[in-house]
């Protein structure tokens, strides 16, 4: 089951990267912590936007994986979950 969820997560990420048309270098270009200076730079801002868009794509699939692991694998009842 977890393999299916892993495939689902990999699939949405790779499909999004295909449509974003961004290179790994561009994705790594901004410092790990996005800062104000990076956001003012139009080139870096493009990378930032691409990363935000990628994050939005895997937010729900990763949420699903968290729910599956906590409830089905480790028997913890999840009442609510919030994301950004």
């Amino acid at each position: 089951m977890i393999r299916k969820i892993e495939d689902y997560i990999r699939g949405v990420i790779q499909l999004k990267l295909e449509t974003l048309g961004i290179s790994l270098d561009e994705l790594c270009d901004t410092p790990p912590e996005f800062n104000e200076e990076a956001l003012r730079d139009p080139i870096r801002y493009k990378s930032y936007r691409a990363f935000i868009s990628l994050k939005e794509t895997y937010k729900n699939p990763v949420g699903l994986a968290i729910l599956y692991l906590l409830e089905q694998q480790y028997s913890y009842k999840v009442l609510e979950m919030y994301g950004p």
Partner: protein
Amino acid sequence: MVHDLVAGQPAWEQGISGRDIDYIIVLEKLPPRELIDAIENYLDNLVGSAITNYFFKKKGCTTLEPYNKVIKHNLVELHTILPNMKNSYGINSSVFSVPVERLDLKGFRKRIMELRQSIEKLGFLEDYMH
């Protein structure tokens, strides 16, 4: 638009963060921190590897090191809380609430059930073929 929050304000406006997704999970009982760290680490590497593998297959890079390790930053962060701790995370409904989105657990559970059913169907077909 998705952003990380610090003290209830978008982190990027404060010049902080932006790489990871912070999940706030409300549970009946708190799991041990080691378990949460292990899940966090597993998901971090899963997402990071998916990103790197895509570029590796496209010949856009020569490394297989997960993206999270390349940028030295985690991509997924889990915050587990009890229902009575919601106020301190600013997620009780009020006009002053932190702008976080409540994720659709019902939808997630339905999707998990569908995945399980598709696996069972596949198992049945495999048995039938043999």
